[in-house]
Amino acid sequence: MAWLSALAGVDAWTVAMMLVMAGFYAGALLAAGAVLFRLAFPDLPDPERQAASRLGAIAAWVAIALALIEWPLQAGYLGGGNGAAAVDPMLLGMVFEGAQGTQLILAVSGLLLVQAILLDARRLPGLGHGLSLGGVLLVMLAFVQVGHTVDEPRWLLGSLLVVHLLAAAFWVGSLWPLYRLARHPPGGADAVRILDRFGRVAVFGVGLLVLAGVVLAALLLGGVTPLLTTGYGQFLIGKVLVVALLLLLAASNKWRLVPAFERGEPRAPQRLRRSIAMEIGLVGLVLLVTAILTTVSSPANG
């Protein structure tokens, strides 16, 4: 199995690089998602709005820290996976001058701008939204600096990745506010209104996410054979399976649990929350597989 042999050559250094990368993905998507979620639901009840902003701001700081940790980890990897190489000025400089450095600068400045999400609390809604949305755009640009989306046709590949990431961020960013909303007394008016509208927005969001992901994967892989024979293709299948599980959960929320919640069934809030918690776990798994896809393997060399 190609995926096993791809993992067999992995040392502790690479595992650390992968875990930090997965954490960075989670933080950056959560931060961007908080901005998007607040924009899509301006009528969130106050406590939920503040909770979403706070989580977004914390996630942005975590992502900044992880992006800065990833830099010496990458330098260390290039020098053979050791601490001396991680602080080697030549290797650190090489990483910084390259595509990773551009990604680092864009990601850190974008995530700093996302902090403007907190401005709203001080009654500057327009400015807060504008700045934090600018931050989201910079974070998205950061993601298209490294990897095979820089190949031609660059605009098409980059746009597909950005659409895929925006939809993913919106989904990831919605989980915590929805989890909190589901704690409201069953049938509570605010919760019902927002859960209902989320269900309608999410159908399109998830559609975009899957569509952009499938087209992107087809472009990068260039056929069905590499999907089955390369490590990259096999990890991709794994990712698709976890996403399919996530979609099942989301569908059951939309068509079963949320209607039960709206009817005020007493056990519905608890079941809805358990389901969202499981979604959070699966999202973590998807991000981990994605980090393996982008660091250990590549569509080119298996």
């Binding site: 050559g9 990458q74 990897y77 290039l78 020098g79 053979g80 030549m90 290797l91 090489m94 990483v95 390259g98 595509a99 990773q100 990604q103 600096q145 490294v146 990897g147 095979h148 820089v150 190949d151 031609e152 159908v203 559609g207 569509l211 499938v214 087209v215 087809a218 472009l219 990068l220 892989l221 260039g222 056929g223 590499p226 660091t295 590549s298 569509p299 080119a300 060399n301």
Partner: protein, 122 residues
């Protein structure tokens, strides 16, 4: 809610798009070959050891490991982008099995690594 009709339209559009792009894209620099070739046997100390790529790579690690540990090399070509990376052994190499471990940075920011092996005979 999406109707069955829009769903079918979407599905056929997606299928058309996939067919249109079924040819593989140019991926980044790949390994083209090794000197001495992976798995080969050479008589005596090879004049040079190296790899070549189909695009510019920045090699950041290139260790030749044999029965006596790491082989000392006469030149260190540095990590400027190159398609051809070659080193010369500083002295004669003992007969035995050798492994080359390399790492490098591709133009697209991907960090690459690889190994190849060869045998030195008297």
């Amino acid at each position: 809610m999406m109707t069955i009709r829009t769903r079918n339209t979407l599905r056929s559009a997606l299928a058309a798009l996939l067919l249109a792009f079924a040819a593989p894209l140019m991926a980044h620099e790949g390994e083209m070959g090794q000197v001495p070739e992976d798995g080969s046997t050479v008589q005596g100390t090879p004049e040079e050891i190296g790899i070549h790529f189909d695009g510019a790579m920045r090699i950041t690690q290139f260790d030749v490991i044999g029965p006596q540990g790491r082989v000392s090399l006469e030149n260190e070509p540095g990590s400027d982008p190159t398609e051809e990376y070659h080193v010369k052994p500083a002295g004669s190499m003992e007969p035995g099995n050798y492994e080359v471990r390399w790492r490098g940075l591709a133009r697209d920011g991907h960090m690459m690594s690889g190994t190849f092996r060869f045998t030195v005979e008297d």
